[in-house]
Amino acid sequence: MNSEAIMKIENIILRRGGVTVLDIPELHVKQGRIIAIIGPNGAGKSTLLLTMAGLLKPNYGKIYYRGNPVDSRASRSEMRRSISVVFQEPLLLNTSVYKNVALGLKFRHLTGSEIEKSVDESLEYFGISSLTKRSAKTLSGGEAKRVSLARAFALKPELIMMDEAFSSLDPPTRESLMEDLRHILEETKITAVMALHDREETLRLAQDVTVMAAGKIIQSGTTSQIFNQPDSEFVANFVGTESILEGTVSSCAEGHMVISVNGKVIEAVGDCSIGQKVYCCLRPENVTISGQAQGNTSARNVFEAKVSRVIRQGFFYKLTLDCGFPLVAYITMPSYDDLEITPGATVIASFKATAVHVIRRER
């Protein structure tokens, strides 16, 4: 958390045809972190990435790269050489995979053997060494995406910007690419800024999240801050109302996992290696509230909880509970009356192991 900012932007205003498309008072990109920029379509995520990469010139505002202002042609092109950008579409040239990946290295006038080494290494990283000699135009969507990522990583950038890295890929392709990218980012420790629109992608990859809408930043924070403490209705709706708990898998056998969360133990269904860091996602409608512990229940997870907040939402109440970890539950109005719930009261919260959605997370 105390790591230094590799990039800072201040008071950025970018207008297009009289419309302000970006209005960012401040944004820091911390060294070594993976930052997700999320928001609805047209929020300005791509524009922000391109501006940060020095490819779009804002009307006002300052960009600092490693503490130095980027305000001249020379400083901008110097910054550009430290940053790689991966666009939403693969944008490969009509030539071989090898030549595509070598492109950026050629611009840097490296020798043939240096280029070959970096290209081979990068292709290897993304598991596409076998495609080296293929023509880029004959690749499938997933392969092309990998080539475009390999081209960006071959430059060994200090910072990488990725715009919707997983869009328009079918689920299995997306899944394997996400997993590979996670490993590569972990291994290379490259700082990454990713425009994403999917909650699960965000949870799996990002450590910090910035939520955008209509060209403005709505909220910035760590992933769990954004998901658990959205500070506005907009963010809450966008990230969903699930409770998202950070935990570590402490045991796993035959599809039954035990996850420790804040010293408490949650049981869930799935398969994970022991020690794997995960998020446990729980929808509020799957949490049952009762006055006292019942004798027999199929719910594997039963916790004593203190009601910390009650919000009326239409025909039901939203309870924020403290069970040693934060938990959100919905309860109907009759149940609320029957159980005589008040803020500060102690209740029993239970949920089934099958209701816990487990997402593996980074670092």
Binding site: L55, R80, F87, E89, N94, S96, F107, A136, L155
Partner: protein, 232 residues
């Protein structure tokens, strides 16, 4: 009927025997039109690329003008070039009227808008983010432009074909500024017109066949390059 059959037979005899006069005319045609296309390629591709990649006031008007230029009537170009290099014209001191140089200039003027218009469309048709992607990989502006031109090579080859095809088969300007001087500025088209006028159908047919063969050979070669699927 006899006229046509005899004409065709004699035409093939002329071609197969490598008749020196016919060969000389063919070679001159290739040299003049080739050089003119080459010149138009430089001017056309560079201006076409610049117009495609920059935004300026009146860009649409410029594009319309270029597209109009693609259909420039050769006789108008011939008239214009003739006046320019006429003894008392602004470039009269060059004394190049009725020389192959004048023909190259006129043909280059005809081919340039064709090459320019196709290059412009080719560069504009590349994905809009491709420029930014190339810049983000660390390219200088010049490197970026070069990569874009290489990426648009297939339609650019079409531009070369269209330009060359236009000028090798063109007659109006060539006869006006070249004068159809035997052994000096006589090319396939001007010779064909003259021989037909004289009733020498055999030579005219031979020249016509050669003109078709040249156009076909050049286009076949370029098509071969264009359609080559494997990466360079």
């Amino acid at each position: 009927m006899d006229l046509i059959v005899q004409g065709v037979i004699k035409a093939f005899e002329l071609i197969i025997s490598f008749d020196p006069e016919v060969m000389g005319i063919t070679w001159l045609s290739l040299k003049i039109s080739g050089t003119a296309t080459f010149i138009s390629l430089f001017i056309g591709v560079s201006i076409g690329t610049v117009v495609a990649l920059t935004n300026f006031y009146g860009k649409r008007v410029v594009i319309s003008l270029i597209n109009t230029g693609m259909g420039l009537p050769p006789v108008v170009v011939g008239l214009f070039v003739t006046m320019m290099i006429w003894r008392s014209g602004p470039f009269g001191f060059l004394e190049i009227l009725y020389t192959p140089y004048a023909m190259i200039i006129a043909q280059a003027i005809i081919a340039t808008p064709i090459v320019m218009g196709i290059s412009l469309a080719a560069i504009q048709n590349l994905p809009p983010n491709l420029r930014l992607q190339i810049l983000s990989l660390g390219a200088s502006r010049l490197q970026m432009v070069w990569v874009l031109i290489k990426e648009a090579r297939l339609p650019l080859l079409a531009a070369v074909m269209a330009g060359f095809g236009g000028v090798i088969s063109e007659i109006g300007a060539s006869i006006m500024v070249g004068g159809n001087i035997k052994g000096y500025s006589r090319v396939l088209t001007t010779a064909t017109v003259m021989e037909t006028g004289k009733g020498n159908f055999d030579i005219a047919i031979a020249l016509g066949i050669i003109l078709l063969l040249v156009a076909f050979a050049i286009n076949a070669l370029l098509t071969q390059i264009q359609q080559r699927q494997h990466p360079r």
